[in-house]
């Protein structure tokens, strides 16, 4: 018999995990909606994005089976996050800091 690494395709995730993740996602949706009505100053955006990143991670890990996936799949997902982070942070580092010094002609 071929002896393959166990991967998501051969692993049936128990239904209760799906229901648990679903419950967490719905609760977090309404938590983030409620928190948005409270004035946290500049922290509103960080709280909203932190909750969104956590929710997205739950969906990817359990609904999309990344948690149970082969290493190759995990590497591809990590690469996507890495390049997206580069795209956003390096570009925004420019936009955030450009006004810090009174550059002539700006």
């Amino acid at each position: 018999m071929p002896n393959h690494e166990k991967s998501a395709e051969h692993h049936v995730v128990p239904k209760r995990i799906y229901f648990g993740v679903f419950f967490a996602l719905v609760v977090l949706t309404w938590v983030t909606t409620y928190v948005s009505t409270i004035d946290l100053g500049r922290w509103n955006i960080f709280v909203a994005l932190a909750i969104a990143i956590f929710k997205a991670s739950l969906v990817a890990l359990f609904f999309m089976h990344v948690f149970y996936s082969a290493r190759l799949t995990k590497m591809i997902v990590t690469a996507a996050i890495f390049w997206l982070t580069l795209l956003l942070f390096i570009t925004m580092a420019d936009f955030w800091t450009r006004g810090w010094m009174g550059v002539p002609g700006r």
């Binding site: 018999m1 071929p2 393959h4 991967s7 998501a8 395709e9 051969h10 049936v12 995730v13 239904k15 799906y18 229901f19 679903f22 996602l25 719905v26 949706t29 309404w30 983030t32 909606t33 948005s36 009505t37 409270i38 004035d39 946290l40 100053g41 509103n44 955006i45 909203a48 994005l49 909750i51 969104a52 929710k55 997205a56 969906v59 990817a60 359990f62 609904f63 999309m64 996936s69 082969a70 190759l72 799949t73 591809i76 997902v77 690469a79 996507a80 996050i81 390049w83 997206l84 795209l87 956003l88 570009t91 925004m92 936009f95 955030w96």
Partner: protein, 237 residues
């Protein structure tokens, strides 16, 4: 499941090539892993595709914070949150459809694919209502554009509010387009599932479509806070 226990189930009407291992693969398990990796590579390109729009959003929000805060308060918070919940429900039903495909419950696959279709349709209908609402309020950028707050006063930094609404329609529009494509594929999957094409040994299309559907859900999980939630409570100084 061990590939040992994979037996061709009595899928009536299934053409013989389904579940068949192409000659360049060692076995069905390797074939499935290859298909899954291929789908993920496609989703990576989608991440970069949407990533460009997210970057545009962050760059312009940073440049015109007052206009973005003022304009984003014109989205409907309750409708947005409710629609997010609808989309999360559709992700659950999709995950369950894949689950029932993996354990070979034909009727439940069909049922949960139909539920996913209905919830996806509900999301799109609510989105259509929101678009219409924005249209009648003159919040579509272009001729007759006019951003006004609840009190009827012009939005703060009104000259730059079309940027927010352009990104709003661009990002939610591209997301909705992905949903519409998803609805089309769902219709196909439902007809195939009804014929009993998907078995524990071979249900790759259901599983890969599940990845696509959840990905579209993830995009919305980020669109919702960025377009509806931020600066809801206070205007930036």
């Amino acid at each position: 499941m061990d590939s040992e226990t994979v037996v061709a189930p009595s899928a009536a009407g299934a053409p013989p090539q389904h579940g068949h291992v192409e000659h360049h693969f060692e076995d069905a398990s390797q074939q499935k892993d290859a298909a899954t990796v291929g789908m993920w590579v496609f989703l990576v390109t989608e991440v970069m595709f949407f990533g460009g729009l997210f970057l545009a959003y962050f760059a312009y929000r940073q440049a015109y914070p007052v206009a973005f805060a003022s304009a984003s308060n014109n989205t409907n918070l309750l409708i947005g949150a409710a629609n997010t919940t609808v989309l999360i429900c559709s992700s659950l039903t999709m995950a369950l459809a894949v689950h029932f495909a993996a354990i070979g419950k034909k009727n439940l696959i069909v049922l949960f694919l139909i539920l996913t279709l209905l919830l996806g349709g509900t999301f799109l209908s609510v989105k259509a209502y929101e678009y219409h609402d924005k249209w009648v309020k003159h919040e579509v950028p272009g001729y007759n554009f006019d951003c006004r707050t609840d009190t009827g006063a012009p939005c703060a930094d009104a000259a730059h509010t079309p940027l927010f609404f352009s990104l709003y329609f661009g990002m939610t529009g591209l997301h909705a387009m992905h949903m519409i494509v998803g609805v089309g594929i769902l219709l196909f999957l439902i007809t195939q599932a009804r014929k009993g094409r998907y078995t524990p040994a071979w249900h790759t299309p259901v599983e890969l479509f599940g990845l696509y559907w959840h990905f579209v859900d993830i995009v919305w999980i980020f669109l919702f806070p960025l377009l509806y939630l931020i600066d809801r409570s206070a205007m930036p100084k």
